[in-house]
């Protein structure tokens, strides 16, 4: 693992002052607006196992926040809680100022939470463009009868979906793949498509679960640039889980480390790299030198 790259340094200088509430325990409430995400004492049990416990975090509206931790620490579970794939056993999740208690995954998405999955979940038999168009589902409406009767509004909607999908695909230079079946894409492209699809739902908070898994270093570098670009362009908060320390340390403003379902450290990348508990549990001795 290398040191902070020039790329990262340069970027930090360019993007001015992104608030980083996730680092401090107390959320910053003085921004006039609610943070993108606020979790209070969040927890879930599986049988006897406290997979996540007393999880508190606040993510600013345009923050990139990293969630790291050993395997089985509960990172994916946190995402599943945030998106209501699992209903929390305790605690509160506030998205953009709204309590999500009792909502189902679809509702939470409409509140502004979108995600990708650790094991890719695309609509394999649909084309790339259709995958994105499905993501645009709630951005533009067109009733069933209208579609079946092919009324003018249907064609207007179709044009919207088409244009907007291509626009979004363009972020990752994927317009050329628009007509390919999603399931037939190479692995890296599938990961990128998942991000585009999530973006299509117009989220306020984007959750990325190991976006760089299975990518080679050059693909990863490109991905890093894109994640930042997305944040800057869409002005959204991004929370990501990743084992690639190069990526995490370079683009996250704040990092939260999880072990056995509990937060063991929060801080800036530099702080985390120095934290003994984190080195002990997660980074390992070798990586200490990196920092």
């Amino acid at each position: 693992m290398s040191r902070l790259t020039d790329f990262a340094k340069q970027r930090r200088e360019n993007t001015k002052m992104v608030p980083v509430p996730s680092v401090s325990i107390m959320p910053e409430r003085d921004l006039g607006k609610a943070p993108a995400l606020e979790c209070l004492h969040l927890g879930i049990d599986f049988g006897g196992l406290k997979a996540v416990d007393d999880f508190n975090i606040t993510v600013g509206r345009t923050e990139i926040c990293g969630l790291i931790g050993p395997n089985g620490a509960g990172k994916t579970t946190v995402f599943n809680l945030l998106t209501k794939v699992y209903q929390p056993t305790r605690g509160t999740i506030i998205v953009d100022g709204q309590d999500t208690a009792g909502l189902d995954p679809a509702r939470v998405n409409r509140l502004g939470v979108a995600r990708t999955f650790q094991n890719i979940r695309l609509f394999n038999t649909l084309t790339v463009e259709e995958n994105v168009a499905v993501g645009l589902h709630n951005q533009h409406h067109c009733g069933m009868a209208t579609s079946i009767l092919r009324l003018p509004h249907h064609w207007k909607s179709e044009k919207y979906y088409h244009d907007r999908a291509l626009e979004l695909l363009d972020i990752f230079d994927m317009t050329g793949l628009a007509d390919h079946e999603a399931g037939s894409l190479p692995y890296g492209a599938q990961r990128r498509l998942e991000i585009v699809r999530a973006l299509a739902t117009n989220p306020k908070l984007l959750l990325l679960d190991e976006p760089a898994a299975g990518m080679n270093p050059s693909e990863t570098a490109e991905l890093m640039e894109n994640i930042v670009k997305i944040r800057d362009q869409f002005q959204i908060a991004i929370m990501l889980i990743e084992h690639d320390m190069n990526l995490v340390m370079n683009i996250c403003e704040g990092i939260c480390v999880l072990n056995f379902g509990k937060i063991i450290a929060k801080g800036t990348p530099e702080e985390i790299q120095q934290n003994d508990a984190v080195i002990e549990a997660y980074l390992g001795k070798q990586n200490k030198e990196v920092a």
């Binding site: 089985g72 890296g188 898994a213 299975g214 080679n216 050059s218 084992h243 390992g284």
Partner: protein, 233 residues
């Protein structure tokens, strides 16, 4: 020990492996590296009998594997830990390990199990948990542990470090080294070229179904093309 000559594999109409040849000698760690879709996993699947090559030959310790069914290949000591873990989701951790020892004589199983638990204490903690609910990393440990249960002579690992925490990646490579020292020959497929090359005796680079480069681990680690393509500059 293992010698692969000119294998060609198709998925339906797709020509995934285009005449690959390589050797693995007793006591080596041989790494196959290459980009996504280069055909690394396909090669391993062909060796373990899940896929068939239409041409060429595969010999393992004097046995012809070309026409041997997959379940017999395992008995000969060629063990494949597949990509994506492929553990038995509905079974407990211990049952999974039992399955790994399916082809082994009964009396060796208990000792093997202890050995695996020693290597992966986390598995021992979770021995009664349903494997499908393990986290990604735990599942990878289980997959490797299961492979070890078969007493491999040649262990083929397909991306064992994928999705693992840095500390675990280290551990996995430690385990690979220690297995190697204990006399197991290893054929390692990895995206993490840096790590793979640093432990490998020899390595081959695959690109779109062909071997494009080969050499010792060190040679490749310092090869400019490899650095550019697989080590991030």
């Amino acid at each position: 020990m293992l010698s692969v000559y000119n294998i060609n594999v198709w998925y339906g109409a797709i020509h995934a492996i285009k005449g690959i040849s390589f050797d693995v000698n007793d006591g080596e760690i041989v790494a196959l590296i290459g980009a996504n879709g280069a055909g690394k996993s396909t090669t391993l699947k062909t060796l373990s009998g899940l896929l068939r090559s239409r041409t060429g030959s595969i010999t393992f310790m004097g046995e012809d594997l070309m026409h041997m069914p997959a379940e017999r290949i395992v008995e000969h000591g060629l063990v494949h830990v597949p990509e994506g873990r492929r553990i038995f989701q509905q079974m407990t951790v211990e049952e999974n390990l039992d399955m790994g020892a399916y082809s082994q004589p009964r009396d060796t199983i208990a000792a093997n199990l202890e050995r695996v638990y020693a290597q992966f204490p986390r598995l021992k903690e979770r021995r009664r948990q349903i494997a499908g609910t393990l986290s990604g990393g735990e599942q990878q440990m289980l997959a490797m542990g299961r492979g070890l249960m078969a007493n491999p002579k040649l262990l083929m690992l397909d991306e064992p470090s994928m999705g693992l925490a840095p500390i675990l990646v280290e551990q996995i490579f430690e385990i690979i080294k220690s297995l190697h020292e204990a006399g197991t020959t290893i054929l390692l497929v990895e995206q993490n070229a840096q790590m793979a090359l640093s432990v490998a005796t020899r390595a081959y680079v695959l690109e779109t179904g062909k071997v494009t480069l080969s050499g010792t681990g060190d040679e490749l680690l310092h090869n400019d093309d490899v650095r550019k393509a697989y080590l991030g500059g």
